[in-house]
Amino acid sequence: MEFLYASEVLANGLMAGVMYSLVALGFVLIYKASGVFNYAQGVMALFAAMTLVGIMEGRVPFAHLINAAFGVHVSSFGWTVPGLFAILLTALIMVGLAIAIEKLVLKHLVGQEPIILFMATIGLAWFLEGLGDVMWGADVKVLDVGLPQGISETVETMTDNWLGYGFFIDRLDIWAAVIAAALVAALVGFSQYTKQGRAMRAVADDHQAALSVGISLQFIWIMVWSIAGFVALVAGIMWGTKSGVQFSLSLIALKALPVLMLGGFTSIPGAIVGGLIIGMGEKLFEYFVGSMVGGATENWFAYVLALIFLVFRPQGLFGERIIERV
C-alpha cells in the first residue's frame, strides 16, 4: 500500500512536471534561436490566457479606458465565442505580438550583448503585464475551453481493479500530458525535418553563416517568437484552467527556471525531462522527507536541485558542453 501510494504521488508529480515543461519549452525555443533569455515568457502565457478569456466572453478590449475617456459604460459585446475559434484568434494575436516585438524591440538591438536583450525582455514583461490588465481588466478570470477537469474515474476504477488501490489523477493533468506530448512531437518534427526548422537551427548556431546562405534573421525571429507565443498560449490554457487566470500565472516562469537549469537552456528534450524530474522530485521529496522537516518543501526543492546542478553540471543534462577556449 505504501508503495502504491508512492506511485500515485509519482504519477501526480509527472503530470505536474509536464506543466512545468510546457513553460520551459517556450524559453528554450527563443534561447536556442536568438540566444535571448526571454524573461517575458511567463507574462506571455498570462497575456495569452487573458486574451483567450476576453475573446471567449466577448469582453470589449480597453473597456476601462474607453469608459473613462468617453464617459460610457461598455464592458461586453454581448456575445460569446466558442473555445476552439477563440484559441485560433488568440494564436493569431500572439503572432501579431511576435511581429510587433521584432519590429519595435529586437530589430533595434541586433548585435547587442545578451544582457541588453535580457533587460529588454524584462521591460517587455512589465509592459505586457500592464497591457493585459488595461485590455482585459485585472480581475481573476475563469478559463474554461471545455477541457475535462476533476478526478478521472476511469483511472481510479482501472487501478482499483488491477491493484486494489484507486489512483487519484486529475483529468486535466492527463490532457495536459497528451497535449504537451503532441506539441513536443510537432516541434521536434518541425525543427528537424522542415526547411524553416533547419533555418531556425542555422540561426541558432551562427548568424553570419545563416545570412550567407540566404536566411532572413528577421523572418526566423518572428517565426520563433510566434511559436513561443503559441507555446505560451498552450501553457496559459493549462495553468489558467487549473488555477484561474490571474497575475500569479506569470510567476510559473519562475518554476521554469530550475527546469531549464536541469535540462539545459538549449535542448527541447531537456526541457521535457527537466520538467518531469522536477515535478516528480518535488512530490516525492515532499512525501518522503517533507514530513520530517515540517513540509512545504515544494517551495524550495526545485531551486536547491537546480543549484546542485549548477555546481556539478552547469550546462544541464542535455545542454551543449561549455568549452572555454583560451
Binding site: 526547411k195 542555422a202 546562405v213
Partner: protein, 271 residues
Amino acid sequence: MTMQEGYTTADGRQIGGVLMDLRNITLRFGGVTAIKDISFDIREGEIRAIIGPNGAGKSSMLNVISGFYVPQEGEIWFKGYRRGPMKPYEVARLGIARTFQNIALFDGMSVLDNIMTGRLNMMKAPIWSQALWWGRAEREEVENREQVEKIIDFLEIQNIRKTPVGRLPYGLKKRVELARALAAEPRILLLDEPMAGMNVEEKEDMCRFILDVNDEFGTTIALIEHDMGVVMDLSDRVVVMDYGRKIGDGTPDEVRSNPEVISAYLGVAHE
C-alpha cells in the same frame, strides 16, 4: 575597359562578359575610410583575386560585395542590373555565396546538414508537405540531396558527412564551408582568405579544389588572399589594394611588374 566580349586566359580558358561591376565604391566607418573610390569588374567564369597587405581593405571589399557592408558611395552592378542597398541574405539569394576568413559554420549540425543549408532557398515545398514528408517536399529533398552528394564527392569529404562540424580539424572545416557555398550553385563564389592558417599540404588541396570548381562548374570566383605566391598561380586577374585604394589591376604578370605594387609589398621600389 570595354572588353564586353571577354578574353582568353593564358591556359586557354574562355572568359565571358562582365558579371559584376563595382563602380567608385567608397566605404567609411565613422572617420576612417576603409575603401576609397575603387572600381573593378568580375567577369563570367574567371578567378579574380583581391590582394593587398594587412589592413588594405580587402575584407571590407568582400563584405561590400556580399552585402554585409553597404558602401556610402558607388554603384554595384550585377548581371547587368544596378543593385540597390540589400541585406546580406538578399544578396545570397541573388546567387552570391561566400566563405569567411574565420569560418562560419553551424557547429551543432552534421557536415551533410551544413551543406544542405546552402540549398535552403531552392526548397519551395509548403510546410505541411515538408512536415509530413509527402509529395513535393520529398521530391525536393531527394533532388537537393543528390546535388549535395555530388559536391561531397567532388570535395572528397564522403567519410565525414555525418560528423558534427564542431569536431572537424581546421582544414576540413574550410572545405565544408566551401561545400556549403557551392551547394547554393552560386553565380559568384566569394572566398575570404581560403588558405589562411593552413599547412602546405592543405593549401595545395584547397588550390586544386578552387581550380577544379572553376573548371568543373564554370563558377566565377572572387577571392581574397594574403599569400602572393598562391594568388599568382591561381588567378586570372588580380586587383591590388593598399590603404583602401586600388594600386594595381591586371593579370598576375602585369601586377607583379607594377612598381607601385612592388613598393607596397616590399616597402620601397628599387630602380
